[in-house]
């Protein structure tokens, strides 16, 4: 069994996001980067499935510049076996990312792909679904429980939907996207970090994969939303009710 886990380099979730004064993008100087938290959950699930089933090769992949090697090393330190960095200087939108990942899948032929349901920078929530479509495979998004069945030919998934938890069975290979409550990812250990240094990290390019990965999305500018201001502190329940009724007129 081979499991492919795409990882995205994003600003650490605890970082305060600042917009550049000229509105051309996000301030990245002095910003700490991390593996997208949902992707860490996806990788953790792959590691647990390997622990449960005995044998699986886990390959982490990312797309971006040299600096993304850092997040691949984190993935290797968590326990992935090898890493692929598809080098791309251009920022890619979800469809372009899905096209590159589809080419990686054609080359690697994984038993399934598991990745985060969304990256916490763009918040797009698209790439996994697009990848499944491009590969002509099934998908289960927002997965909070995953179990391989039928001799690893199918997976039984619980999905977190607006209406409640949905249970589906998906034929493999497939693409799964991880939701928050799938698991709690392990911390990287020091021996893990030492081992990760010796694990293979292969560099590829979209051209070498035969993909033209042009982004269709053009960001013209970014800005901070109009912020809310703190209102008033009321002293009692009576004052709260009075103000909601007479001032805000929402009760």
């Amino acid at each position: 069994m081979k499991i492919l886990v795409p990882l995205k380099r994003v600003p650490d979730p605890d970082t305060k996001i600042r917009v550049k004064p000229d509105g051309s993008g996000i301030e990245t100087d002095g910003v700490k980067f991390a593996v997208n938290p949902f992707d860490s959950i996806a990788l953790e699930e792959a590691l647990r499935l390997r622990e449960k089933t005995g044998a699986a090769e886990i390959v982490v992949v990312t797309i971006g510049g040299e600096e993304c090697g850092e997040q691949l090393r984190t993935g290797l330190a968590m326990g992935a076996d090898r890493a692929i960095l598809v080098k791309s200087a251009a920022a890619l939108d979800s469809l372009a990312v899905a096209k590159v990942l589809a080419a990686v899948c054609q080359k690697e032929q994984p038993s399934f792909v598991i990745m985060g349901k969304q990256a916490i920078d763009d918040d797009s929530n698209q790439a996994g679904q697009m990848l499944a479509a491009l590969l002509g495979l099934g998908q289960a998004t927002f997965v909070s429980k995953l179990e391989l069945t039928d001799g690893h030919q199918r997976a039984r998934c619980s999905r977190e939907t607006d209406a409640g938890i949905e249970h589906v069975a998906i034929s493999l290979p497939a693409v799964f996207t991880a939701d928050l409550r799938l698991n709690e990812p392990r911390y990287v250990s020091l021996p893990g970090i030492m081992k990760a240094r010796k694990k293979p990290l292969e560099e590829l390019s979209p051209e070498a994969l035969g993909v033209s990965a042009a982004s269709r999305t053009r960001v013209l500018k970014v800005e901070r939303p109009a912020g809310r201001k703190a209102g008033v502190r009321v002293k009692s329940v009576d004052e709260l009710i009075a103000r909601l009724r007479t001032e805000a007129k929402v009760l």
Partner: protein, 323 residues
């Protein structure tokens, strides 16, 4: 000329109000740069839902009514959405952001080789060019973007677009032929754990009462958060902390990864105000927060803040609102 396909959402035939917000986006684009829009409904037994879409100014209400679509499985639905978009020559496919559309629309976009924008809150046209504004980074950044290509897929925040005014003329309902044998079979629906509740859905309610970490167990949540909601005829919501600890079901979670809401009034009870939570509710008109920690970040965005223990303040609030 814009040809817009609006993917409507329903729950066993009951239309989701967000469908009309998606139509509001379509109407706005058509008003600015011409064109028309159709609704598309997917499911089995759609007559009533189709009827409910006939007074919103659509050129047609397309109903893909098939037993094979009885459950919203993404592989099947996306194939029908993409096929219908092609058949109608759609230039834009739009839906309101929800787990339903997030599952299906990106898949349909890839089948159409179309780029997609999520969480769109505004659209403007300059000539035939459309410029969109969308939310990123848990609501901390608004990006102004354009999308290239002959077909665009758009998921809108339902609070950002008003429903089109009701029309006297009725849109015609047209059946979309679905060849059940050609539908993909990657996924098999097993079951859904639906929490039956008499309360309104948080995405459709005028008032939401939401609880956070200060609520110690499910019984307290129901008594205080549920109790106040029932006094006000409101929906209930929850922070992630309570879902993670099993006190509330995931379907109540509001935030970056849960539901995004913008009601007239949002009661935050014992919610500290993590940025991920605020991302899901800060477009609310009026926020009232009760928290015993005077330093809780929720007070930085609340219109009315009361520093108090929810276990004392909420029963008092319920009692006084009843009288």
């Amino acid at each position: 000329m814009n040809r817009i396909l609006v993917l409507a959402e329903h729950d066993n035939g009951a239309l989701k109000l967000a469908s009309f917000a998606a139509a509001g986006f379509a109407a706005k684009v058509c008003a600015a740069s011409g064109g028309s829009f159709d609704f598309l409904l997917l499911g089995s037994g759609l007559a009533a839902a189709a009827e409910g879409l006939r007074q919103s100014g659509a050129a047609a209400v397309l109903a893909a009514d098939s037993p094979g679509l009885a459950q919203p499985l993404a592989d099947r639905c996306a194939q029908v959405v993409a096929a219908t978009a092609r058949a109608r020559g759609a230039t834009i496919v739009v839906a309101a952001a929800s787990t339903f559309s997030k599952d299906i629309l990106p898949r349909a976009a890839a089948l159409l080789d179309a780029g997609m924008l999520s969480d769109v809150i505004d659209v403007r046209s300059e000539g035939s060019d459309l410029t969109f504004r969308r939310v990123m980074f848990a609501g901390n950044v608004i990006a102004t973007v354009q999308l290239d290509g002959p077909v665009k897929c758009i998921a809108v925040r339902s609070a950002a677009f008003a429903a089109p005014a009701a029309t006297a003329a009725l849109s015609p309902v047209e059946a979309v032929a679905v060849d059940a044998a050609s539908l993909p079979q990657f996924a098999e629906f097993i079951s859904r754990e639906v929490k039956v509740s008499a309360r309104p859905d948080a995405t459709e309610a005028r008032i939401i009462v939401s609880g956070g970490r200060a609520l110690k167990n499910a019984a307290d949540f129901e008594r205080l958060v549920g109790g106040l909601a029932d006094v006000l005829g409101a929906a209930v919501g929850s922070s992630r902390a309570l879902v993670d600890s099993g006190i509330t079901p995931n379907s109540l979670q509001i935030g970056q990864t849960g539901k995004v809401v913008a009601p007239d009034l949002y009661f935050a009870l014992g919610i500290s105000g993590a940025i991920q939570h605020m991302a899901g509710m800060k477009d609310t008109k009026v926020i009232a927060a009760i928290n015993k920690d005077p330093e809780a970040p929720i007070f930085e965005i609340a219109d009315y803040g009361l520093v108090a223990d929810v276990y004392e303040a909420v029963p008092e609030l319920m009692q006084k609102l009843k009288t």
